[in-house]
Symmetry: none
Subunit: 288 residues, 2 copies
Amino acid sequence: MKEKEKAIIEAAIKLYATKGFAATSIQEIVSESGISKGAFYLYFKSKDALLIAILEYYFDHIQKNIEIHDHENLPPREKFAKQLTALFSTMIEHKEFIIMQSREQAIPLNEEVKTLMFRKHYEAQKFYQNSLRAIYGEIAEPHLWDLAFMLEGFFNSYIRLLLFNEEGFRISELVEYILRRMDSLIDGLKGEEPIATEEKMEDLFKKTKAFFLANNHDIKLVIEKMKKVISGMENSEDFNISLEVLQSEIEKETPRLPVIQGMLSNFRNEPKLDTYREEIAKIYNIKR
Amino acid sequence: MKEKEKAIIEAAIKLYATKGFAATSIQEIVSESGISKGAFYLYFKSKDALLIAILEYYFDHIQKNIEIHDHENLPPREKFAKQLTALFSTMIEHKEFIIMQSREQAIPLNEEVKTLMFRKHYEAQKFYQNSLRAIYGEIAEPHLWDLAFMLEGFFNSYIRLLLFNEEGFRISELVEYILRRMDSLIDGLKGEEPIATEEKMEDLFKKTKAFFLANNHDIKLVIEKMKKVISGMENSEDFNISLEVLQSEIEKETPRLPVIQGMLSNFRNEPKLDTYREEIAKIYNIKR
DNA sequence: ATACAAATTGACTAATTAGTCATATCGTAT
DNA sequence: ATACGATATGACTAATTAGTCAATTTGTAT
């Protein structure tokens, strides 16, 4: 990432945190970061593209800080304690990002942002669940969803407190406190029926996934149509290859936009495919 | 409240929940509620005034639904269970409001909204604390802040779940489950030192109050700069008077916006003061 | 029916916005 | 020094916005 991109992202974060996304203009961002409006558009395709870059930039950063401890050889509880500590610290370090995030939780302007946020939330849940399973074993198993929810609740409540007053609290003490609270919860769960049963949650996530992957379904239809059009054309070989790459990319859990964009651009000089190309570009929020 | 005001509020809530506050235009709100733009301004002074009306309308509604149970003669635990149930139900009933709230956490654009939100959050904390004190007595006393935080965390995590899938869960069961989890936490807290001690929290709330007046500090700097610029000018007398009035108004606990606005407008015809004027106007959300 | 006030309208203004593009400056290789 | 591509600029456009106001409709009292 270029130095200026970083400068823009940091200026934007700062402004978004205080004013919110929709209320912050590009003009303000470029003034804050000391560049011109024209230059902004050299680095980011649009205002939305900047938002996505910000989200990815920080999520990556946070994730890396947690993964550091993945390869240390520690007992599960100590490992999780380290990771939770890293999570708290990184979030406090990037205060503005968290405030922005909590201010406009999701900012679902376009599908890409929605999907990104949904995936990240799901990943966080799974991270909690895996850690709890490793610590408490099968006694926790039927309660993993509930435990993850409650842990997430603890985390959110206390991060809020820390954001107001970083110095006042020792993160490592807080993490140990939270883990002991989880111990209490585990004790109390003996003989309890879970609220968020695996069955219910699977059902819920199916529904939600279906909602978020609705586009995916749409795209598949579009690709089928394109296949038909292409098959009726001469020298269709190149198009077929592009289409196959496109299809396999879209089916991945985290499709890489540049690949999609590149493949779409291969259809540029074929007017018959224009509408299809544009339809896909729209869904992925790619510039046409 | 007039029927039309209600119609406007409900249309606005609906749109804010899906599009966010800043991204929703007055035009959309009046189209949705079937009135004209002119009529909107008969009922609400401005877009911000509508937001405040919405917040007050729903907070009142929620509060009333909880207070119903205040005068029933029940043991504290049963009473709190009923109140928590009412809280969950009312929030689900007014889904859109909660989504709006969580989407742009109240959009602290202007001081009035910020203060309102801060107060409401504080009140919620105190409600939890009082209920917990009534249920668990002095054993809970040193842990009331922590317990309230954790309870709030539970509430937030589970309300999120309910918003996705209302039908899948029985609220009364959930509330009993949460209360039993609080029992476990109480058990585990024997011999524990609280994280959020009364001392720290008192300190924090003092600071937080100061935080809400942080702008005040920025403005003071701006005023100092203005003073210097003015002192180097001819016929500076009028400007000095305006500046003094401005300064004393800002230092009041609840500065009156019209006074500030009026004084600022006195600097209108002096280009050298433009940036300063705009900076102050921005902080107070005054039209430039 | 008439008069008059209250309620309502939507075309209008001035300001602001995201994004574009012709022009200018910079850096570097020869 | 020259040339040339990369980087950067900010005036510009077209669209959208909150808020206004003269003109019209509606309601009511006599």
